[in-house]
C-alpha cells in the first residue's frame, strides 16, 4: 500500500495521462460527470456521486458501429475501430464498480459485445472508498461494501492522504508504471500504521452505512419463484401513476444496459450506423417490425423494476441488477424510484 499526499494527486494524474487516457469526475457547468481529463483541468473527487455513472467509459451513451457509403454504384463499409488505447478510470465508488460486473455478465457472455470487450480489456479501474455515504445510498442491501470498493486498485482518501492498494494484475501493472511518482510523493509510513488508518476509516464508513435510512430493505420477495405473482401485482397501477416516462432513471443508472441501433443518414456523406442507450420507459422501446409488445406506460414501468429485481437475478445466479447507488432516488423528477417499488411490492408498506 502506498500513501501519498492528496496535494500530489494532480502529479499522479499527469503521470497516468502521459501514457494512457484518464477518466475523472470533472466539474463542468456546476455538475460533476466523468470525462476525459487533460492536464491542468480541475477534477472533483469530493462529490460522492457523479450525475451519470462511470458507465460511459465502457459503454458510451452513443457510439458509431460502422459507416457506409455508396459511390458510383459501389457500396463501401468502414467498420469502427475497436478501442485499442489503454485507459484508467479513477474514483469509481463501490456501487459503480459492482455495476461493471452486472454489465460484464451481459456483454461478455456469448455473443460477446466486441466494442464493450475491447474497452474492458484496455481499461483499468481505480476505485475510491466513500468517506461520507449519503442518505440515498443503499448499496449495503446488495452486499456491496463502500469501505472496500474493489476493482483493480482500491483507494481511500483520509484527511490529506490518498491510500493506494493494488488488487489485481492490472492494478499491479498500473502501480508499477507509476512507481516513480508514487514513491517520490510518498509519505513515509510504516506498513502497519497505514493498514491501521485504513482499517479505522473502513470501520467508520461501515458504521455510517449501518445507520443510513435505506440500508435495511427487505428483498426477500424478489426471487425468481415469485415472478408471476410480482408481475401480476395490482400495486403497479398505483406505483406507476406519477411516472413521466422520461429516461432519467435509466440514463443515470450504472447498470441499465439496453441500447437501440439507429442510422444517421448523412446523405451524400453516407450513413453512420450507431447505437445509443435506450430506455424501457420510452414508447418505442423494443419496437419491432410486428409492433410493440409493451403498449402502455404501466408495462414499461414494470419492465424496469422487474428486470432489475427479478429477471436479471433469475438469469445470473441471484445477482440483482440494482447496486443501490441511489441516483434514481435523487434524480427522478416525480420522486419515484426503485426503493419505493421495493418497499411497496416487498410488503413493507
Amino acid at each position: 500500500m502506498y500513501r501519498i499526499e492528496t496535494a500530489g494527486l494532480a502529479e499522479l494524474f499527469a503521470a497516468i495521462s502521459e501514457t494512457q487516457d484518464l477518466f475523472l469526475p470533472l466539474r463542468k457547468a456546476d455538475q460533476t460527470n466523468y470525462g476525459l481529463w487533460s492536464e491542468g483541468e480541475p477534477f472533483d473527487l469530493d462529490t460522492l456521486k457523479t450525475v451519470k455513472s462511470a458507465k460511459d467509459c465502457f459503454f458510451p451513451q452513443s457510439e458509431v458501429l460502422y459507416r457506409c457509403k455508396s459511390e458510383d454504384g459501389k457500396l463501401s463499409i468502414d467498420p469502427q475501430k475497436l478501442c485499442d488505447r489503454a485507459f484508467v478510470v479513477f474514483g469509481m465508488r463501490a456501487c459503480d464498480v459492482k455495476a461493471v460486473e452486472v454489465l460484464d455478465n451481459v456483454f461478455l457472455s456469448e455473443p460477446v459485445d466486441t466494442f464493450y470487450a475491447a474497452r474492458r480489456e484496455h481499461g483499468t479501474i481505480v476505485s475510491l472508498a466513500c468517506h461520507e455515504p449519503e442518505e440515498t445510498c443503499f448499496c449495503a442491501n446488495f452486499g456491496i461494501d463502500a469501505a472496500a470498493p474493489g476493482a483493480d486498485v482500491e483507494t481511500w482518501i483520509i484527511e490529506d492522504s490518498l491510500y493506494w492498494k493494488p488488487l489485481t494484475e492490472k492494478g499491479e501493472a498500473l502501480t508499477e508504471s507509476l512507481k516513480a511518482v508514487l514513491e517520490s510523493t510518498e509519505k513515509e509510513t510504516p506498513a502497519e500504521e497505514a493498514e491501521k488508518t485504513v482499517a479505522e476509516e473502513q470501520e467508520a464508513i461501515r458504521k455510517i452505512i449501518e445507520k443510513l435510512p435505506l440500508s435495511h430493505l427487505d428483498l426477500s420477495r424478489f426471487k425468481p419463484e415469485h415472478t408471476m405473482e410480482l408481475f401480476d401485482s395490482p400495486l403497479w397501477e398505483e406505483l406507476y401513476k406519477p411516472c413521466l416516462a422520461c429516461g432519467t432513471c435509466t440514463f443515470v443508472c450504472p447498470t441499465c444496459q439496453c441500447y437501440d441501433i439507429r442510422d444517421f443518414d448523412g446523405g451524400k456523406n453516407g450513413v453512420q450506423r450507431y447505437r445509443c442507450w435506450d430506455s424501457c420507459m420510452y414508447s418505442d422501446f423494443t419496437m419491432m417490425a410486428h409492433g410493440n409488445m409493451r403498449t402502455s406506460q404501466i408495462q414499461r414501468f414494470r419492465q424496469r423494476f422487474m428486470h432489475k429485481l427479478v429477471y436479471y437475478p433469475a438469469n445470473y445466479d441471484g445477482l440483482y441488477s440494482c447496486v443501490g447507488c441511489g441516483r434514481c432516488v435523487s434524480k427522478c423528477p416525480a420522486s419515484l424510484n426503485i426503493v419505493k417499488v421495493i418497499k411497496k411490492l416487498g410488503g413493507e408498506v
Binding site: Q61, S62, L244, C246, G247, T248, V252, C276, D284
Partner: protein, 328 residues
C-alpha cells in the same frame, strides 16, 4: 395542510369529486411525489410543504379520461399551465375542481442537501428563512438560497383560475420584486454577449444534456400525442445526441414548439438532472414576444388570441430577424 386534507375529504364524501390529485409523503422528507388519492383514508399520506414543487396540471390530461371530476391542488404558477391546457383543449375545465393553494415558494432539495442539511423530515417557510425539521433537530437556511430558480423570480401570487382558495387570497399581489424581481436579467446578460460567447455558454450547458426527455415530458406545453422526437422516421430521434449540434437541435426545436405557449412555469429546469438552465431559452422567446407584440402572458386567460397564432397589420415584419442578427 390539515385544512387541505379536511376539504378534500369533504369533497370526496359529498361526491363533488371522484379523486384527488395532490402530493404524497416520500421516503425522505424532501421527495414528496405527485399522487392520486381515491379514498378519504388515503389522504393520511397527503403532504403540502416547500418540497412540493411538482406542477400537477399536466396530470389532468390523463385524469380527464377517467370517470368523474378530479380535485387538483394548484399553486399560483401552476394555474397558468392549467389555463393554457384548457385553452388548447387538452384538459376539460368542467371535469376539474381546482383548489388554489397559497405559496411562499418551493425549494430545490439538492440545494438544501448541499447546504449540509441532512436527515430532513419536513420544512416550512418563515419570512425569508427556510426552517427545516431534521433528525438532528431544527435547522435553517436563507430561503433565497434554497428556492427553485422560478421561485426566485416568482410571477406573482395570483391564482388565475380556481374554484376555491385555501391559504391564499383573491387577487393577491406580491410576487415579482418581493423575491428577486427581474426574470429577464439573465436573458439580458446573454443578449449582451457576442454570438461566439453565447454559443460557448450554450455549448457548455447543453453538452451535459443526457437526452432523458424529462424537460419535455414534464412540460405542460409539450402535450403532443406523438412528439416529433419520438418518431423513428425522423433523424433526430429522441434517444441520443449524435453530436454536439444535435443536442442543440433538440432544445431549439422544443423551444420553438412551446414559444408563445410556455407560461414560464419552470418545470423544465426544475427536473433537469444536469441542472441546465432551460428556462433561459423560453424566456428569450417570452421577452421577444413582449417586445414585438406587447406584453403577453401565456395561460393568463383562456380566451385571448396568442400573438404567434394571430395576425394583425401591426405585426413586426419577418425582416426583423435579419436586422437583429446584425444583417448576417
Amino acid at each position: 395542510m390539515q385544512e387541505l386534507i379536511t376539504r378534500a375529504k369533504e369533497l370526496l364524501a359529498d361526491g363533488t369529486v371522484s379523486r384527488v390529485l395532490g402530493w404524497k409523503k416520500g421516503d425522505m422528507g424532501w421527495d414528496p411525489e405527485p399522487a392520486y388519492f381515491d379514498k378519504e383514508e388515503d389522504l393520511k399520506d397527503f403532504v403540502y410543504n416547500p418540497f412540493c414543487g411538482a406542477n400537477l396540471s399536466k396530470y389532468l390530461i390523463a385524469a380527464g379520461k377517467l370517470e368523474g371530476t378530479t380535485l387538483v391542488f394548484l399553486k399560483p404558477c401552476d394555474t397558468y399551465s392549467l389555463n393554457e391546457l384548457v385553452k388548447e383543449h387538452r384538459v376539460k375545465r368542467e371535469k376539474t375542481y381546482i383548489i388554489g393553494v397559497g405559496c411562499h415558494g418551493t425549494v430545490k432539495a439538492e440545494k438544501v442537501l448541499n447546504a449540509g442539511i441532512k436527515g430532513i423530515e419536513d420544512a416550512a417557510i418563515e419570512g425569508d428563512t427556510l426552517k427545516v425539521k431534521t433528525l438532528y433537530g431544527e435547522k435553517e437556511m436563507p430561503l433565497m438560497d434554497a428556492l427553485l430558480e422560478r421561485c426566485q423570480v416568482c410571477k406573482g401570487k395570483t391564482h388565475v383560475v380556481f374554484d376555491e382558495l385555501i391559504g391564499a387570497e383573491e387577487g393577491e399581489e406580491a410576487g415579482p420584486g418581493e423575491l428577486a424581481g427581474n426574470r429577464f436579467a439573465k436573458v439580458e446578460e446573454l443578449e449582451a454577449l457576442s454570438p461566439k460567447e453565447r454559443f460557448a455558454f450554450w455549448q457548455r450547458e447543453l453538452s451535459k444534456c443526457i437526452r432523458c426527455n424529462a424537460c419535455r415530458n414534464v412540460c405542460p406545453a409539450c402535450s403532443c400525442l406523438k412528439c416529433v422526437f419520438d418518431g423513428n422516421q425522423f433523424d433526430s430521434s429522441q434517444k441520443a445526441n449524435a453530436d454536439t449540434f444535435e443536442e442543440q437541435m433538440f432544445h431549439i426545436i422544443r423551444a420553438y414548439h412551446v414559444a408563445g405557449r410556455c407560461t414560464d412555469c419552470g418545470e423544465c429546469s426544475r427536473v433537469c438532472p444536469e441542472g441546465i438552465p432551460l428556462q433561459l431559452l423560453n424566456r428569450k422567446f417570452i421577452k421577444d414576444i413582449n417586445t414585438f407584440y406587447g406584453e403577453y402572458q401565456a395561460g393568463a386567460d383562456t380566451e385571448s388570441r396568442a400573438p404567434l397564432t394571430d395576425f394583425t397589420f401591426e405585426d413586426v415584419e419577418p425582416g426583423i430577424v435579419n436586422e437583429r442578427g446584425g444583417g448576417r
